[in-house]
């Protein structure tokens, strides 16, 4: 676990691991995998809430559980910046991780591939590959999206690339 900050590391170890190696084309095995995905996501979301670190909402956008949509947010200088989050489960999942997309930030940062797919660190893919099939969606969010938001949002805000939605008004949501 070289290259990860201690918080990410300790959070990661608390997310339940998955056991079924199945992708969306694997029928009943995928259903089993999907159950494991839900359990990990439920555990991770509850953990975030109890640690006062709630930072995303995600749910399956189709019954097959191959497309997921939701929101993620990041608080910078006491202001909450919220973004749409979406991704598809690739056919070769879980050998390959889902490519997380923040479509509203497409074109606003170099740390992103076209279509708003976030650019992961050199540490993500090796760790994912090593832990296949034990990592799932929750792990991808924890290892991929959380560090990305922490690194990029302050830069985007400070450079004026993104503005808070009610710039002056006090944010009651936070």
């Amino acid at each position: 676990m070289e290259g990860w900050d201690p918080t990410t590391k300790s959070t990661l170890t608390q997310i339940p691991l998955l056991t079924t190696k199945a992708g969306p084309r694997d029928g009943a095995a995928w259903t089993q995998r999907l159950k494991e995905e839900y359990k990990a996501l439920i555990a991770y979301t509850s953990m975030n809430k109890s640690n006062d670190n709630d930072w995303f909402r995600i749910s399956a956008a189709n019954p097959e559980g191959t497309r997921w949509t939701g929101k993620c947010w990041y608080v910078h200088n006491l202001l909450k910046y919220e973004f749409d989050l979406q991704f598809d489960i690739p056919v070769t999942y879980p050998a390959t991780a889902p490519e997380l997309e923040l479509p509203q930030l497409d074109g606003k940062t170099h740390k992103m591939y076209r279509g708003g797919k976030i650019c992961l660190t050199v540490h993500f893919k090796p760790l994912w590959a090593k832990n296949c099939p034990r990592f799932g969606i929750a792990h991808a969010l924890c290892l991929g999206l959380a560090p990305w938001l922490a690194a990029e949002i302050p830069i985007l805000v400070d450079s004026g690339m993104i503005k808070h939605k009610d710039d002056a008004a006090s944010s009651s949501e936070v």
Binding site: L17, L34, K39, E64, D88, T96, E99, K111, P126
Partner: protein
């Protein structure tokens, strides 16, 4: 436009004749000169060539294939015109794929299938092929526009979609299986798939499709720091598949720790991409037209001008089940392969009395010996030649994460779990 300009010229002439004042003549002449230069510009506008029925070897300026057919006359290629029967799928029309597609188009390939979901951007202009006026078009649409102008004999099919999604994958699979172009062809509907994508996820998808379809394919890649690249031949069951071992990359010699990644995802150079596209299509031509040696892996280190090669046997413990099925079939077909190889050696021995034995063109027929299944790719890096490295670790050695609990319980109810998450999601943070 040309005729209209000529009419203006005539009008000008009659107007000039109606004026008797000679002082005006020089002004009329100036205008006439300007119109005449416009006429010649209009004449030199875009020329479109018509389709050619047969490839001719005739050496005339108007024959687009004369220099290619010369390969046949010189004895390099036995039958060049066969190229018109071949279908090649190019997955990813970026810096490598677009150039590879152009090369195949100029070579007169029969059919090209092009896959990409991206649009042309100004940021692509440091690479070859796409032009600034194509910005905003889909890459497939822009490619077909340019390529069909260059060679209208090629049949183009374009697929603007992401092959890594379930739906995209299904379309990808069925497009490869469609045999309407050459109904007598054995196997799938294409002769070769070229992977020119820029990410591991998409390569794994091409690997999945080709393993399932028993489709030979070639992989290509350029490193994110733009100074190394590689091509690789993958024959399901016979060579290592893309999932048999962690992907091989050419070590650029640049220390990863000194590589500055802040603020960028990837760099790219038209040179490295052009070199890799050239190596890829060269290998494609050799494979399709059966000349020279088809390479199984060729790396390119641009900083040291070093080209490592190697061969990789399939991994009997590959995590891809379609790969294992292909490996089993390949082993079962060994007696037939041996017999064919023997016949070939005998035939060559007979003909060798008349002509010198030429180099073995058939890359895939190996000399029969027991070592055929001896060396397998275990994914360990100690067997790699110098200058090559694995990009990712193998999945078999988990990093030991102290797990809090595991999630597997077949008695869980999916709907119940979905509702639990929704309830959590609905709670105020």
């Amino acid at each position: 436009m040309e005729t209209e300009l000529k009419e203006i010229l005539n009008d000008l002439k009659s107007l000039q004749n109606s004026f008797s004042d000679p002082s005006l003549h020089s002004q009329f002449d100036k205008i006439r000169c300007r119109i005449e230069s416009l006429v010649s510009l209009a004449k030199s506008g875009p020329m479109h060539r018509s389709k050619v029925k047969d490839m001719s070897a005739e050496v005339v300026d108007s024959n687009p294939y004369s220099r290619l057919m010369a390969l046949q006359r010189m004895g390099i290629v036995e039958n060049y015109e066969r190229i018109r029967q071949f279908s090649v799928a190019v997955v990813g029309i970026g810096g490598v794929g677009s150039v590879a597609a152009e090369m195949l188009t100029r070579c007169g390939i029969g059919r090209l299938l092009l896959y990409d979901y991206d649009k042309v951007e100004l940021a692509n202009m440091n690479r070859l092929f796409f032009r600034p006026e194509q910005v905003g078009m889909t890459k497939t649409e822009a490619a077909v526009q340019t390529l069909s102008d260059i060679n209208p004999d090629v049949v183009f099919e374009s697929y603007t979609m992401n092959i890594t999604t379930i739906q995209g994958f299904e379309t990808f699979m069925s497009s490869l299986q469609n045999k309407s172009f050459n109904p007598n062809k054995e196997g799938s509907g294409v002769d070769l798939v070229l992977s020119c994508v820029d990410n591991y996820e998409a390569r794994m998808v091409v690997n999945q499709a080709c393993n399932e379809l028993n489709q030979t394919w070639m992989e290509s890649g350029v490193s994110e720091n733009a100074v190394s690249g590689h091509i690789q031949l993958l024959v399901p069951g016979e060579t290592a598949c893309f999932a048999c071992a962690p992907p091989l990359v050419v070590a650029s010699g640049v220390d990863e720790r000194t590589l500055k990644r802040e603020g960028v995802c990837a760099a790219s150079l038209p040179t490295t991409m052009g070199v890799v596209a050239g190596l890829l299509v060269q290998n494609t031509l050799k494979y399709l037209l059966k000349f020279g040696q088809v390479t199984s892996y060729l790396g390119y280190n641009a900083l040291k001008d070093y080209f490592p090669t190697m061969e990789m046997k399939p991994n009997p413990q590959c995590s891809n089940s379609a790969c294992l099925k292909r490996q089993e079939e390949f082993i079962l077909a060994k007696p037939a392969r041996d017999a064919a190889a023997r016949t070939k050696i005998e035939a060559e021995a007979l003909s060798s009395t008349e002509s010198p034995v030429h180099a073995d063109n058939e890359w895939n027929i190996s000399v029969v010996d027991d070592s055929e299944f001896g060396v397998t790719n275990t994914g360990s890096s100690d067997v790699l030649p110098e200058g090559l490295a694995h990009e990712l670790p193998s999945a078999d050695g988990y990093e030991n994460l102290p797990a809090s609990e595991e999630t597997s319980n077949p008695l869980d109810d999916l709907d119940d779990l979905r509702k639990q998450l929704e309830t959590l999601n609905a709670e105020k943070s």
